[in-house]
Amino acid sequence: MAAIIRYSFKEFVRKKIFLITILMSAAFLFLYSWGLKEIAENLKQQSTMMTFAMQQVTVFSSLGFYFSHLMVAFLVVFATSGIISSEIENYNVHTIIVRPIPRWKYVLSRYLGALIFITLYSTAIFFSIYTINKTLGFSIEHPISQVVLGWLLFELIAIVLLTVTTFFSTSFSTLATGILVVLLFGFAMIGGFLEQIGYAIADFSQASTTLQTIGIVSSLILPTDNIYREMANILFKSNLIDFSTIDPFAGISKNSIYMRIYWFLYVFALMYLTIKRFDKKDLT
């Protein structure tokens, strides 16, 4: 199993898309630091209302996390959409499956190799943004446990997406998997925005209920946006001030314990189905 995990990890690290992502991430972090520094200094000098200035900077800081979670998502999709399918397409899997390794171990090892790769990248980008926000923007003082929780939720987004990608990759071609996961991710994002709008106009009409329902359904299909908003709520809320309510990238709605349990069930159930599917698959 360790051999396949190592092999998978090396394969993903060598992909051109990873190099491109690293270069783009560096460019993004540079521009983001510069922008945040300028905004923070400008607002501190001009605004007489400290809270207003903090709000503006916090929204910009939130944008940093939002953009970085998009980069993680796209890296997951473009680097791992062939996690199983490309191995089938180039027949490399034929040389591996005939070895004394159960099929479930093969799938799990490929998944773990990709998971290590994605986790390293997303951890680096998360703490880069966190450090930049803390250093250049206004820092909200959190206990370390809250930061760790935020980071774990950031990782969970990548894990959910990787699990969905692996699931589709056992049944569809690399291209089809990539398209399907991007579409689903976009669907979840739009669903999340509609849900927030629904909560924002809660007092007005039936429309708010419909929008909230759309959001819940999209979260059940792919809970990435839902998890992101939970993470943003944790990172932009302190005991004194809650900035999440004025932040379009965070969330007004709060997740129930059932939804939180659902995220984990989602990952385990999908992984179970992936393994079952691959176990029965004919490798023609």
Binding site: Y91, T95, V98, R99, P100, L283
Partner: protein, 299 residues
């Protein structure tokens, strides 16, 4: 028992796949599987190595059912189509497979196998720089790791030049001499005829003929004589011998003989009667059987 199948069936549709395959290989040998394109050869091999799940029937390798993971460390497989990761070197590919096989101290075995297949000087080169033939040689080396008891070779010479084909033939013979059973799936009848002890011909998913090369070719001895002339006197000699003439031209005569002993007898008769013989060609016997079996359209 090295290999046994009982009505093994892999059905893609009512017409595609392989159906009711009954094979038995009791002792180490080179077993050839022949058949036209789409006959079900690769389907059968892929089912036996566990890439395809059988629809019906049973199969046993080295006395164990196909889903027994442990037997997989005793089998080797060279697929017809494959592509190793192009960022790996030949040595890394071999090393990766050694790890999958849980082998220890594998360095010498890797070197020895790469030497055997003739690519030892390319061991540190990336696969992306390998030609198809070199990849096939590497695939052959990978399939021989851990000294398998049975090795499945699916079209092992399809990308090789004539020298490569001779090399592969010699390797197959060497494997057989070491006591390894080779299950050879090939289009090249001449190759199969040269190395196989037993042959099965598969058509439209069914095994239509099976036996040793001798058993299969006994009734198919076709010989062509190239002479200075073919005339009525020659036909008389032939008819007296009760030999069937297949085709003839002004200088060639193709006949069907009952035994090899008929060849020198005929040559002697022709020379005695004043004919000059320039060439005596024995047709590829297995090819004749193959064409006959497939041509007859058993199904």
């Amino acid at each position: 028992m090295i290999l046994k199948t009982e009505n093994l069936t892999k059905e893609y549709s009512s017409k595609n796949g392989c159906f009711n395959i009954n094979l038995e290989i009791e002792k180490p040998m080179v077993f050839g599987l022949l058949g036209p394109n789409g006959a079900g050869k690769s389907t059968l091999v892929k089912t036996l190595v566990g890439l395809l799940r059988p629809t019906r029937g049973k199969a046993f390798l080295l006395g164990k059912p196909l889903d027994d993971i442990a037997i997989k460390s005793k089998i080797g497989y060279l697929p017809e189509n494959f592509k190793y990761p192009d960022w790996m070197t030949a040595y890394e590919v071999m090393e990766f497979h050694c790890q999958l096989l849980r082998m220890k101290n594998y360095k010498n075995e890797i070197y020895s196998l790469l030497e055997k297949v003739g690519i030892i000087e390319h061991k540190d080169k990336k696969i992306r720089s390998f030609s198809k033939g070199m990849q096939q040689r590497l695939g052959l080396a990978v399939s021989m790791l851990n000294r398998p008891e049975i090795i499945f070779l699916d079209e092992p010479t399809s990308a090789l030049d004539p020298i490569g084909r001779i090399d592969v033939r010699n390797i197959i013979i060497e494997l057989k001499n070491q006591g390894t059973t080779v299950f050879l799936n090939s289009h090249l009848l001449s190759e199969v005829e040269k190395v196989c002890d037993m042959v099965a011909i598969i058509n439209k998913g069914y095994i239509v003929v099976m036996g040793t090369i001798d058993e299969l070719t006994r009734k198919a001895l076709k010989v062509t004589f190239v002479l200075d002339k073919v005339d009525s006197k020659l036909f008389e000699i032939i008819s007296l011998k009760n030999i069937n003439i297949l085709t003839h031209s002004q200088t060639t005569l193709e006949v069907e003989l009952l035994s090899y002993e008929d060849i020198p007898t005929l040559v002697e008769e022709f020379v005695k009667s004043g004919y000059k013989i320039y060439e005596v060609k024995k047709s590829q016997e297995l090819e004749n059987v193959f064409l006959q079996v497939i041509g007859e359209g058993h199904f």
